[in-house]
């Protein structure tokens, strides 16, 4: 498992957390998803051999957010 933190500055409330967690939670190869409301980051535990970082970024952006790093 690899752990990576994505910076998503638009995260604002619990609703945002739920939608990002919900979207990422359904993808094969993703273990845990932690959304930090104060830090406006998304921490993802994932299996690099199954899922690419691009897919994670696209999934978050498909929810209407912008991933800055």
């Amino acid at each position: 498992m690899t752990e990576k933190t994505f910076s998503v500055p638009d995260i604002h409330c619990g609703g945002c957390a739920t939608s990002i967690e919900g979207a990422l939670g359904g993808i094969d190869g993703i273990g845990s998803v932690k959304v930090d409301l104060d830090g406006q980051t998304v921490g993802v535990d994932f299996d690099e051999s199954v899922v690419q970082i691009d897919v994670i970024v696209n999934t978050i952006e498909d929810q209407g957010y912008v991933v800055t790093s």
């Binding site: 409330c13 619990g14 939670g25 845990s32 959304v35 209407g64 957010y65």
Partner: protein, 717 residues
């Protein structure tokens, strides 16, 4: 190529400003969409689309990220957000009533002295729908959380109610004590909390209805010289309306003929009526005191000052309450601990040689008793009572999260104009070597004819001293310098010393000294003279609000630092700062830099409240941890603020923070009480001594403590 069209959508499910941004981005990416704007406050989306765009596809795309949008047909009346909150409150009320309808007999049965198999099974029948139908929202959220290895309040409720239910189902077979009423009560009380929360929003919408009702019901439209009574909604810009003394001004406009004093308290908080004459703006819902006015309508519908206030208040209510976060934060730590304790209890019973059944039973008992029923009441009851009391005191909290942020405030930044001072120039000094009355008569008559606010201040000051002014024969303004005119045949010059020199008027040393002294006091100083000589000096200044001094002292007592941030020149600012006793002064700050100054304070670890009223304060109000918008109501400032101080009284700034602190500590106490009784009973459960009486007692005591504690906020002063 045919033209693009605009489609307006009704949006459901937005909880914060980011939601609006997300929908905007998703809509913008769809085929055929040239642009999209989503307004969080009015729950509305507008998209500019090519003519053959598939609207259903847009709806589906937005649905995918969890919001419902629906195109609004042209001419369709939209439901106000305020009405929606009322509808939500009704829905929650129905929910809690239905749940209570099942839970009440459940409680009654559980308290029967004699228990039979039939009453036990009936309790199971009653509890099952409460836990799994009315409680389904909590289980769904808890599962969602579990998938991301998280726990919150929903987790605790879900685990607690299901554990109590499952334990009791098993106990039905073995004849041991059952806890169906615990599972039912947990869900019902949480639902009650949800209803309170919805009603607190509804109550604020009550305040909106009140504001809407402030508007005039009828307008006298002037058609071909005759009055015609119409609904103010039917007016359009350019129409003429007549307002008689004692009537409400029906709509925003400009006075064409007539002059009167108008009560604008609702907008400005100023209790004194304001004099208005031809050319002045008037606002709908203000009260015309004296004269007949003919008004040309300038703003109608959503553009009136009143409609904007309504929109702002609605906006305020639309913010969700992340204060709940505190309860969630506690739960996220509490849940794993409780499950850990339950496992230890389970293991210990096995270790001391207990059978498997006893070990499971006591482990589950720990989970049952740990879930506090009053948890769901802790935050909503405090917020409901706190914001209600705030409204009574003239402080509107825009969104419940403000309650969580305001206790930490340690720095108050005041924008000078209008918050600490009245914002109107008043005559303060006249130096004229014993001939003050004659001096004021000549200078005042010239100034009265000028449109300048300073001139009006001088003229008012003269009238206050019972000097009857006359109309000057002619008046001429020298831009940036002063005014020249002739009164009763005397050629009078009023203005800066440079104008005196230009006009060949001699200045004595006394007058120079007086000028310098008054300027040092932060006043605006003018000279006046005739017949080759300067005859006297007058000074005007912005008057300090009476309550400003007390407010600053009160804030210092509360341990807060006070800073005045103003665009005014240093000398004027220092004079005001000194007389109100403010701690630190940042003068000559450009409007655009106010937000940066606030950010700099925050960078040094300060939690900043910004109190302001001007349009140019809006960025600073947003930047501040808590923005407090004062009074005027017509300003964009109110939109940017987190707290609205309903009148111009600076005292309310201190009230707001004290109420915020009181409410937040009530929430904390409530959470303490909610957890206390249940946590105290955990050892009983671990020892295998938990019985339904203990569970019911913990429930009753914690709920009563929480509600009583919240109600104490009603006496906040």
């Amino acid at each position: 190529m045919s033209e693009n069209e605009t489609i307006t959508f009704d949006v459901e499910g937005m909880t914060c400003a980011t939601c609006a941004l997300r929908i905007e981005r998703i809509l913008g990416r769809q085929e055929g969409v040239a642009g999209a704007v989503v307004n969080f406050a009015v729950m509305e989306a507008k998209a500019v689309v090519a003519p053959d765009t598939d609207v259903a596809a847009l709806v589906a795309a937005v649905d995918k990220i969890g919001y419902k949008i629906r195109p609004i047909e042209p001419g369709e009346q939209r439901q106000r957000p305020a009405e929606r909150y009322a509808a939500e409150a009704r829905y929650q009320l129905r929910n809690v009533l239905l749940a209570a309808l099942l839970t009440a007999p459940l409680m009654a049965l559980s308290m029967l002295a004699t228990e039979s198999d039939a009453t036990r099974i009936w309790q199971g029948f009653l509890a099952t729908p409460v836990v799994f139908v009315f409680g389904s929202q909590f289980h769904r959220m808890a599962l969602k959380r579990l998938r991301s290895r998280n726990a919150n309040m929903d987790t605790l409720i879900s685990v607690g109610s299901v554990a109590a239910w499952a334990y009791s189902v098993a106990a039905l077979a073995t004849g041991e004590p059952i806890f169906f009423e615990t599972s039912g009560m947990i869900i019902t009380l949480i639902l009650l909390g949800r209803f309170f929360e919805a009603r607190a929003k509804g109550n604020a919408s009550h305040a909106i209805t009140k504001l809407v009702n402030l508007g005039a019901k009828q307008a006298r439209m002037l058609v071909d010289g005759k009055h015609e009574m119409v609904d103010p909604l039917e007016l359009s810009p350019g129409d003429s309306v007549v307002v008689f003394p004692g009537e409400k001004v029906p709509i925003d406009g400009v006075i064409v003929t007539g002059r009167s004093s108008i009560d604008e308290t609702m907008f400005t908080g100023e209790s004194l009526p304001v004099d208005k004459k031809a050319g002045d703006r008037v606002f709908g819902a203000t009260v015309n005191h004296e004269g007949r006015l003919e008004i040309e309508v300038t703003h109608v519908g959503p553009n009136t000052a009143l409609a904007q206030i309504v929109k702002l208040v609605e906006d305020a209510q639309a913010t969700k309450a992340p204060v709940q976060k505190l309860a969630d934060r506690i739960s996220s730590i509490f849940v794993p601990i409780v499950i850990g304790v339950a496992l230890i209890v389970f293991g210990s019973w096995l270790a001391v040689g207990g059978d498997l059944g006893t070990a499971v039973r006591n482990g589950v008992a720990v989970i049952i008793i740990a879930c506090p029923c009053a948890l769901g009441l802790a935050t909503p009851t405090a917020i409901m009572v706190g914001s209600g009391r705030g409204a009574e005191l003239g402080v509107l909290f825009k969104g419940a999260d403000v309650f969580e942020r305001s206790p930490a405030i340690d720095t108050f930044v005041f924008d000078k104009t209008g918050t600490l001072t009245l914002g109107a120039m008043t005559l303060t000094d006249v130096v004229a070597d014993g001939a003050e009355d004659r001096f004021l008569y000549l200078v005042g008559s010239i100034e009265a004819a000028s449109e300048h606010p300073i001139g009006r201040g001088v003229a008012f000051g003269a009238e206050e001293r019972d000097i009857v002014l006359s109309f000057p024969d002619h008046v001429e303004t020298v831009p940036g310098m002063g005014v020249i005119g002739s009164v009763d045949g005397v050629d009078v010059t009023v203005g800066k010393s440079k104008l005196m020199a230009d006009r060949g008027l001699q200045i004595s040393d006394d007058h120079l000294d007086a000028t310098e002294r008054l300027e040092r006091e932060g006043k605006t100083v003018f000279l006046g003279g005739w017949d080759g000589e300067v005859r006297g000096v007058i000074a005007v200044a912005d008057r300090i609000r009476e309550s400003a001094v007390g407010t600053i002292a009160q804030l210092h007592d509360m341990g807060a630092e006070t800073i005045m941030l103003t665009g005014d020149n240093r000398r004027t600012a220092e004079a005001v700062a000194r007389s109100v006793g403010i701690g630190r002064l940042l003068a000559e700050v450009l409007p655009g830099d106010k937000a940066a100054e606030v950010a700099q304070l925050q960078g040094r670890g300060k939690t900043v409240a910004f109190v302001g009223d001007g349009i140019n304060d809006a960025p600073a109000l947003t930047q501040a941890d808590v923005g407090m918008a004062v009074g005027t109501g017509t300003d964009i400032a109110i939109e940017a603020g987190d707290i609205v101080l309903m009148s111009g009284e600076p005292r309310l700034a201190a009230t707001a923070v004290r109420l915020g602190r009181a409410t937040f500590s009530t929430i904390k106490q409530n959470l303490f009480w909610a957890f206390l009784y249940n946590t105290a009973a955990i050892p009983l459960a671990a020892a295998g001594l938990l019985n339904p009486m203990v569970a019911a007692g913990a429930m009753a005591f914690s709920s009563a403590s929480v509600v009583t504690n919240s109600l104490r906020l009603r006496r906040f002063t």
